[in-house]
């Protein structure tokens, strides 16, 4: 078996399986789940193979149909998207394992199309990551977005309206993005990223290039839900089926963050994005606003998923802040946070789904006594929450540490304050939940004999839901402990050499 086709198989397999699932589901409904798992598993194996090849042999170039790059479509995998691919396919696989029981309960009549679209979403996201062609990114972006709209729309009461708003906002974002491609194309006549990065430096003062760059930035910012363009995000995450939130929240916005890094630092040379136009500087302030606003809004929520959604907005702020700081430490922190946040948010949404599955509610004021009922689930929640707050040795701490170092290197004291304050705000809204979950149901008075409590029976999630949650939570801790290895072997090379 040759490894060279892995770069394309990782997209093709889920894409084709999406249709296979739809067909097969017509005859045998039960077959959808194993087929989905198999496809995602193949993707995951491919991603490992790709990363391994990148580490041992360097950047992979895959030319579609043998056409040479500036004309043909090219897939390029280097360190930056190599690790993104592993992360995406792994989380997709884990969430897919989890999905069975939750979907059967929440949307029993739509299992077949759900899995089909689920695979389309994954194929789209992986496609965005793997391709080296600007317009190809747009196509995959729309595949992923359309899948995401559909996956959200099947949710509970508010979902269709949330999905419709998302369609409108998302389409505007995508339109800006491909309008940007148009402007860049006018002056260069190329769509290949590597080719463009050679052609563009001579044209950096061209107005069309500047407009194109601005359109890219705005388009991606809308798609990633960067404050203040986030309005579609909270409703979508809240009303979508649990599994949808658990797959979109950790993956979609992260892929957009990846795209931002790609465009800022590969398509355009870093000195363009940093020095020629002060875009990174503007972004840092926007991101800082997002961090604070997201955290404060999260505190105001009583719905667990909505709270997590606002926390996502804050965390997108972290990632963009790291990109905007545009130095080695900042970008390292940013990339590490992409990874960490995917795991933490994945865990948290899986837990939210689990609570929804067992209790049928998400109101955090009613969480009392949950630790007795679901000790393992709440344990994983606590780990992920501690990581969100940034308590060592979980992953979240280290990404924040690098971001703080990045802010120090950039001599941006204000952002250090923002990062530290947001840590505390995170503590406020996560400890509110932990506190509720770990306390007994209210007793009238604390008697000296310890009070009598209603006995709560243990009622843990089924294993098919519990194990994926545990895996992701273990990932949160392992990513923290071994963060130096990840940085030394992968992320170090993903940061542009000029930093």
């Amino acid at each position: 078996m040759t490894y060279e086709h892995f770069a394309v198989l990782i997209v093709i397999v889920p894409l084709m399986s999406a249709f296979a699932v739809a067909l097969l589901g017509w005859f045998k409904r039960w077959a959808c789940y194993p087929l989905t798992l198999a496809a995602l598993f193949v993707s995951f194996i491919c991603s490992l193979g790709i990363l391994n090849t990148v580490i041992s042999k360097g950047t992979i170039h895959y030319h579609f149909g043998g056409w040479e790059p500036p004309w043909g479509i090219e897939y390029v995998v280097d360190y930056l998207n190599g690790f993104m691919l592993v992360m995406l396919s792994f989380i997709a696989l884990v969430v897919a394992i989890y999905s069975k029981r939750s979907i059967e309960q929440e949307i029993p009549e739509k299992i077949v199309p759900y899995y089909s679209i689920f695979l389309l979403l994954v194929a789209g996201l992986i496609g965005i990551t793997v391709t080296g062609d600007l317009f190809n990114v747009f196509v995959f972006l729309e595949i992923a977005s359309l899948a995401a709209y559909a996956l959200i729309a099947v949710g509970e009461d508010g979902a269709p309206m949330a999905a419709f708003n998302y369609v409108i906002m998302g389409t505007v974002g995508a339109c800006f993005y491909y309008l940007g491609i148009g402007y860049v194309y006018i002056v260069t006549g190329s769509l290949n990223m590597a080719d463009l990065s050679q052609l563009l430096p001579n044209l950096y003062h061209n107005k069309a290039v500047l407009v194109g760059f601005a359109l890219f930035t705005v388009g991606i910012a809308v798609k990633m839900g960067l404050f203040p363009l986030h309005v579609w995000l909270p409703d979508s995450y809240t009303y979508a089926p649990s599994v949808t939130s658990a797959v979109i929240a950790p993956m979609f916005t992260k892929v957009m963050a990846y795209l931002m890094v790609r465009i800022f630092f590969t398509l355009f040379k870093p000195y363009f994005s940093i020095d020629l136009i002060p875009i990174t500087q503007i972004l840092t302030w926007v991101a800082a606003g997002g961090i604070i606003a997201g955290s404060i809004l999260a505190i105001a929520q009583t719905d667990l998923k909505r709270m997590l959604a606002y926390s996502s907005i804050a965390n997108i702020g972290y990632i963009v802040l790291g990109i905007g700081l545009a130095n080695r430490m900042g970008l390292t922190g940013s990339l590490l946070h992409i990874l960490n946040h995917a795991f933490m948010k994945g865990t948290l949404f899986l837990v939210a789904g689990g609570i929804m599955y067992k209790m049928g509610m998400r109101d955090i004021t009613q969480f009392r006594g949950l630790h007795k009922k679901m000790p393992f689930t709440m344990g994983t929640f606590t780990i992920a929450a501690l990581s969100m707050i940034g308590i060592p040795p979980t992953g979240g701490f280290f990404s924040k540490f690098y971001l703080v170092l990045g802010a120090i290197d950039a001599r941006q004291w204000a952002f250090i304050v923002v990062l530290l304050i947001s840590s505390l705000l995170n503590a406020v809204y996560f400890f509110r939940i932990i506190e509720n979950a770990y306390l007994e149901p209210p007793v009238t008075a604390y008697a000296t004999d310890g009070g009598t409590h209603e006995e709560i029976k243990r009622d843990e999630l089924p294993l098919s839901m519990l194990i994926p949650t545990l895996i992701l939570a273990a990932g949160v801790v392992l990513l923290g402990i071994f963060n130096e290895r990840i940085i030394a072997f992968i992320i170090r090379f993903a940061v542009p050499a000029s930093f």
């Binding site: 317009f135 729309e142 359309l146 729309a153 009461d157 309206m161 389409t171 309008l179």
Partner: protein, 128 residues
């Protein structure tokens, strides 16, 4: 100034259409009208691409028998690539419209109305 506007009228048209679409998406209360706004927005960009591919006095990019013998002069043909890209974009646009219409049907089945403010009213009443 006037000359400037007229000479680039195709771009002005696309910008006008885009703004029209944007207004439709933001200003209209009816979901279908919003969707139409979105379509106008997309079409505006498609027109933009079409016009960047075209050249004055050039023809569509089909090689004539004459060209096959000599070397084809690119100046005689429009750039086909943006037009091809727009085939994809049109497909994407149609798909988006389809999904959006599907969602609109779901909304209608649930609330029996398509006016955004009425839906908000209903949702507020039901306490969701």
């Amino acid at each position: 100034m006037f000359e400037y506007i007229v000479s680039k009228y195709n771009y002005w048209v696309y910008i006008f259409l885009m703004m029209l679409g944007l207004y439709g998406m933001i200003g209209k209360k009816n979901l279908v009208k919003k969707l139409i706004g979105m379509n106008i927005f997309q079409v505006a960009i498609i027109l933009f691409y079409i016009s960047i591919g075209s050249k004055v006095g050039a023809s569509i990019p089909i090689l004539t028998a004459e060209d096959l013998h000599g070397s084809a002069n690119p100046l005689h043909y429009m750039n086909p690539l943006p037009h091809v890209l727009m085939l994809t974009a049109i497909v994407v646009g149609i798909a988006t419209t389809g999904v959006a219409l599907g969602i609109i049907i779901m909304v209608y089945n649930r609330y029996k109305t398509l006016a955004e403010d009425e839906i908000l009213e209903i949702r507020k009443k039901s306490g969701v």
